[in-house]
Symmetry: C2
Amino acid sequence: MDEVFHALADVTRRAIVERLVRGPAAVSSLAEPLAMSLPAVMQHLRVLEKAGLIRTEKVGRVRTCQIEPDMLRTAEQWLGRQRTHWERQLDQLDEYLQE
Amino acid sequence: MDEVFHALADVTRRAIVERLVRGPAAVSSLAEPLAMSLPAVMQHLRVLEKAGLIRTEKVGRVRTCQIEPDMLRTAEQWLGRQRTHWERQLDQLDEYLQE
């Protein structure tokens, strides 16, 4: 989870995730809208891959990236659990104040 | 969002969030189960506070922390949007394969 949240703590890496949830993409096409060098993009992709958020695959001369949704789901579920506890606490406070 | 995800990319800070969604707590009681010095705990609290995930308040000699749920919700919603796009893509692939 440390690696997942660390990977998402960067606006470029979040932009890459936002692109890849819409479908797989070649590294070159991911790099196109980003104002940075290809090695810098590759570095970001490595952070995302190490966190288990994306998978990359080289076919011939083209490296393609695709999302790995499991870790996104794990992070979302952790946040959802925190919200549930928080809402339960609010409800209890509410009941207490009404008594 | 960078600061929010960065703040959550640490197991101690997530443990503090997990504690605070159950209700406010004094810094001393937050520090109790953590195997670290009080200054180290304070440092983690500052990261969480800077990210807008918690609020701290000093009353007399006791500093109390409480959760600020808005940023947790924002992070959860971002992840939820990515899941929605991903599921839509899966559905489209499914339709395509059935045609």
